[in-house]
Symmetry: C3
Subunit: 173 residues, 3 copies
């Protein structure tokens, strides 16, 4: 009976993944291939291009602007990309008016976001970067850097030789 339950759970998960992936695809401007295991959402003010092998357990993209996510992107649960928002210094009212600033987030290949990560503003994230759980990223992240904290700072770098060797051997996933 236990194997029956496991089998049923597997089926339910597959249907859920298919459903979330189907919904998310409709919100993207373009995509290579993707599989998402939890609800992912893009606000109608954001244009999003996604590469090959996008894999996420929950990503919300909001605000005004553009996002490009490279190939082999992985994210944990409850991640957020916050693009442009109210232009408080040039608006026609306080605390903010009706004018918006557009922003863009460029995420290179092989980037891995932990859970509860927020990326806010005009941000470039370099190839192979790793963002630790709970980070709020408010400035650029260099390639292969491991960042954490709010605001996120560089903690260390991943083994760059190891990374480049696997890249040369086409060992991606």
């Amino acid at each position: 009976m236990n194997s029956c339950v496991l089998f049923a759970l597997t089926i339910v998960r597959k249907i859920r993944t298919w459903y979330y992936t189907f919904i998310f695809k409709r919100m993207l401007h373009s995509y290579g291939s993707l599989g998402v295991n939890s609800f992912c959402k893009v606000s109608s003010t954001a244009r999003v291009d996604v590469g090959y092998n996008f894999s996420s357990n929950g990503l919300t993209i909001s605000g005004l602007g553009y996002v490009r996510i490279g190939n082999f992107f992985h994210s944990g649960t409850n991640c957020k990309i916050m693009l442009g928002s109210h232009d408080y210094d040039n608006g026609d009212a306080i605390p903010y008016g009706t004018s918006y600033i557009s922003k863009q987030v460029i995420i290179s290949d092989f980037v891995w976001l932990g859970s509860d990560v927020t990326i806010s503003g005009n941000i470039n994230i370099g190839e192979g970067a790793i963002i630790a759980i709970g980070s709020v990223v408010v400035k650029d992240v260099p390639p292969c850097a491991i960042v954490g904290g709010n605001p996120a700072k560089i903690i260390k770098y991943r083994d760059i030789d190891h990374f480049n060797n696997l890249k040369k051997e086409n060992k991606f996933h």
Copy 2:
């Protein structure tokens, strides 16, 4: 058909806003005017006064104490105000006893909280302050300051002349 769907969505949103606003009003001690687009909640141990044109996409007020929110307050989603909690240094048990400390949060006019902001403890937030996404505010915020991080620190100030001009011209929203 697309316009039909949009119309239906607009109606649903209006009903939802009316419903959330209705519930939230019942939890407040006094209020000027308000419109909330998502579930807002006040714990029974908090007394809350709200000014004119309160607008929020999600605010939870918990703990023991008092909150005054000025006019033209705006907040993003998932914001929290945490008032007084267990008095661990004078209690009758460990890790904490049955005694509580009461705290108060005073938010001036024209304050804008981004999403996922937490305000904790005895805090005064000055007029026109902006709190960045994901911040945890544990000390006072001066007028027109833009703060971010956990703990939140001053990043910069908004254009104070621009702010004061719009204020003189009564350009609020």
Copy 3:
């Protein structure tokens, strides 16, 4: 009628607590006694031992490894313990391969976590420590320390004499 509503609410709460406690117990390796008021969850890759008088309003334990939680543990809502994850520096693919690192979190007696606390990695939390709301704990916390921030740092210490006196008098809860 008001007292009727209150009575009904009390019953609902009792049933809910019993239900959440029942589910959580099944996910633990061992436990002394516990009562949880909200959904608590342990991933199948984590082995968790819990002491006496565990009390939580929401705790999620994920990743690979071991957690020991001492007696008289209290936590707010939406707390997380993140154990071992992908071994990015020794894996067989990028951004990470199939190999995992196992980690362990040891929480001593009388520890109190505020809401939205995340504990990540190999962490020891000393007796009587208090973790402030929204903290992300990435290094060890000494006994009776009060820590906060992301990354969490020591803010101050609780009254250690007061703590030790109550401990000697067996005034726990």
